[in-house]
C-alpha cells in the first residue's frame, strides 16, 4: 500500500538520454496500458453504478442513506440498516482479527520452532483459499449452533450489562455469527502480510536488541512492531476492505433483518449481502435501482476507507522517518 516516491530514480526517467530499446518501449507501453486499464475500469464501474442508481437517487435523494427500512411491497427503501450492519460487522471482525493475526504472525516469525513454521503458515494461508460459500455453510450448520448454545449465553451472562451482549438468538444466525465468520476470513490476509513484514525486520536490529539484554517481548515491542507499524496498519485496512465487501458468507449467516439492533446476537444485514441476496430477484425497477444505490454507497465507503488507509500509512511512515 505504501507508495514510495520514485521520481528521482534513474531507471524511472523517460527514455531520453538513454538508448531506446524496443524492449523498453514495449514494457512501458504494456505496463502503461495495464495501469490505464485499471483506472478506466474503476471509472466505468462508477459510471454504470451511478446510472443504475439514478431512479432511486431521484426518488429518495440523500435521505435514502439514513432511512431504515426495505419494503418491496410498499416501495419504500433505505440504506440505514445496511450501513449500520456493514459498519458493526466490519469493526467487530477487525477488533477480533487484528490481535489474533498479529499474534499468529509473531508466533510464526519469532517464537515457533523451525519445524512447525512451514505447516502452520500453510494452514493459515489455506483459510484464505476456502470459498466463502463453504465458510457460510459451515457457519449455518456448525458454527452458528455452537455460538448459540455455548458462546452467546456465556457472553450474555458475563457482559450482559453492555447492550451489545443481549439475550442470545435462538437461530444461531445473526450479527455476531457474521463477525466471527468475517474474522476467520480476514485473519489469513492480515496475518500473512504481517508475517512478511516481520520477516523483513533486519536481523541485526533484533540481535542488537537481544544483545542489550531485552526479553523477546521487549524486542518485539521495541523493534519489530515500530519497524513494521505502517505496513501492519495497511494490512489491517486490507482486511477491512475484505470485510466490507464480503457478501455471500455474510448473507448466509447474518439472518437478513432490516432494522437497527444493538444486540449483536440479533440478525441484521449488510450492504454487500443485501445486494447479493436480492439483486437477481428484485420485483420492481425501483427496488433494483435502490440495490444499485446500495452499491454506490458501498463504493464510496470503500474509496474513503482506502484514502484513510493511505493517509495512515503515510503518517506512520513519516513518523518513522522513512518517507523521502
Amino acid at each position: 500500500m505504501s507508495t514510495l516516491d520514485t521520481t528521482t530514480d534513474v531507471a524511472r526517467r523517460p527514455l531520453s538520454g538513454r538508448r531506446a530499446h524496443l524492449g523498453d518501449l514495449l514494457l512501458q507501453g504494456a505496463a502503461g496500458l495495464a495501469a490505464l486499464g485499471a483506472v478506466v475500469l474503476v471509472g466505468l464501474i462508477a459510471y454504470k453504478i451511478v446510472q443504475g442508481a439514478k431512479l432511486s437517487l431521484s426518488t429518495f435523494g440523500l435521505g435514502f442513506i439514513t432511512h431504515v427500512g426495505w419494503d418491496p411491497v410498499h416501495l419504500s427503501f433505505g440504506a440505514g440498516s445496511f450501513l449500520f450492519g456493514t459498519a458493526i460487522t466490519s469493526i467487530g471482525a477487525l477488533i477480533l482479527a487484528t490481535p489474533l493475526s498479529i499474534g499468529i504472525a509473531l508466533f510464526l516469525t519469532e517464537l515457533a520452532p523451525g519445524g512447525i513454521r512451514g505447516p502452520v503458515t500453510a494452514l493459515v494461508e489455506t483459510l484464505a483459499a476456502i470459498p466463502s460459500v463453504v465458510i457460510g455453510l459451515w457457519g449455518i450448520l456448525v458454527l452458528g449452533p455452537v455460538l448459540r448454545d455455548h458462546v452467546e449465553p456465556f457472553l450474555h451472562s458475563a457482559l450482559g450489562f453492555i447492550p451489545l451482549f443481549g439475550p442470545p438468538n435462538s437461530a444461531g444466525t445473526g450479527i455476531f455469527t457474521a463477525i466471527v465468520i468475517l474474522t476467520i476470513m480476514i485473519l489469513p490476509i492480515i496475518s500473512s502480510i504481517s508475517r512478511e513484514l516481520f520477516l523483513s525486520v533486519p536481523g541485526e536490529l533484533k540481535e542488537g536488541a537481544l544483545g542489550l539484554g531485552t526479553t523477546r517481548w521487549e524486542m518485539v515491542r521495541g523493534v519489530v512492531i515500530p519497524y513494521t507499524r505502517g505496513g501492519v496498519a495497511a494490512a489491517v485496512i486490507l482486511g477491512l476492505g475484505r470485510a466490507l465487501g464480503e457478501a455471500i458468507a455474510v448473507a448466509q449467516v447474518i439472518g437478513a433483518f432490516t432494522g437497527i439492533s444493538w444486540n449483536l446476537f440479533n440478525p441484521g444485514n449488510t450492504l454487500a449481502s443485501m445486494i447479493a441476496l436480492n439483486y437477481q430477484g428484485a420485483s420492481s425497477g425501483l427496488e433494483l435501482s435502490s440495490l444499485i444505490y446500495l452499491a454506490l454507497i458501498l463504493l464510496v465507503f470503500s474509496i474513503i476507507v482506502n484514502i484513510v488507509a493511505q493517509l495512515i500509512v503515510r503518517r506512520v511512515a513519516k513518523r518513522q522517518g522513512l518517507a523521502q
Binding site: G69, W70, D71, P72, V73, H74, V133, G136, L137, I140, L141, G144, P145, N169, S170, A171, G172, T173, G174, A251, Q252, G255, A256, F257, T258, P267, N269, L277, N278, Q280, G281, A282, S283, S284, G285
Partner: protein, 346 residues
Amino acid sequence: MPRNGKLVRIILVLGAVAVAASFAVTAASAKRSAGSLKGAGSSFVAPLVNAWIAPVNSNLGISMSYNAVGSGGGVSAITNKEVDFGASDAPLSVFSPTCTTCVQIPWALSGTAVLYNLPGAKNLLKISGAVLAKIYLGQIKKWNDPALQKLNKGVNLPSTAITVVHRSDSSGTTFNFTDFLSRVSPAWKSKVGTNTSVAWPAGVGGNKSAGVAGIVHQTPGAIGYADVAYSTIAHLNVFKVQNRAGNYIIPRLKNIKAASALDTHPAKDGSLSIVNPPKNAKYANAYPISTYTYVDVQKSSANAANLKKLINWAVTKGQAFGPKLIFQPLPAAVVAFDKKQIAKVK
C-alpha cells in the same frame, strides 16, 4: 446416525444449489445455437425442468439448459431476451417493469410446505392460516401459545420460543407463501402484503430454500417454509394446514390436485390462482397453499418452432415426470388453455 445423515444430505443439497447458482450467472450470457433452448428462473420448478432435459433431448432432439436463478431473475432474463424462456412462480403482473411482449403459460402445479423443528414433537402437527400469520407477524412467540395448543389438542406443546424463518433472497416461494398469508389475515395484508420479498416483521432469513431448511434443521423451535418438493428432500417435519373447509391437510399430491379443482380456467393473461379455496365440500381435501408456476416466452422468438415443441411436450408428456418430484400433473382444461397460449408464439 440419522441426525448426521440429515446433515450430510442438507450439505449436499446446499452445495449443489451453490454450484448451480454460480453456473447460472456465467451461463446467462452464453451464446445460443440452433436446436438448443436456454431457460432461466424459478428454483421451485427446477427439479422438474432438470428431469425433462434428457427426454427432451432424446424425444424432440432439442438440447435444453435451465438455470435456477430465481423467479425474478427469470422474468428479467426473458424480458431482456437473454433466454428463450423464463420460469416464474409469481405471475408476470407482479413484476415492474415486466415482460409486456410475453405469453404466460402455467406449466407445473405444486405447493408450499410449512416446516418446523420441535424436539420431542411428532410430525404433522396442525396449524391454521390465521395462527400462521400471527406467528409470522411476531404476535405468537411460544409453542405452547393457547392458539397453537387449541389446534393441537392432546399434544403437549413445550414453552420453547418460536423462531420464525423466512427467505432472505427474493423468491417465488415467498410470493406463494405471503399470498396465502394475505388471503387469510387482513392484518398481514395491510402491514406486510404479498411480493417475492417483503419487509418481514419478525424472524431470521435464510438464503434460498436450502438456507431456510438449514436454519430450521439446526434451530429447535423453528418454523419455516419451502416448496413441497424441497421439504420432502430435506426430511423436515411439515404442518398439516387448515383449509377453509376446516380440515387439516398434508401437502401431498392428491390434496394439491383437490385444490386445483377450484379453477382450471386461467385468466386472459395466463395467470391462475388456487390459493386458499373457499369453504365447499368440493375442496374439503384441498391443500390451501397450492400454486401454479409459469413459463414465460416472448411472442416473437427466433426459436419459436423449437420452443412450441418443447412447451407442448412439457405440458403433456412432461407432466408424467411430476409426481415423483411432488408436482401434480396439470388438469386437462389447463393443458387445453396452454396449447392456445403456445399457438400465440411466432
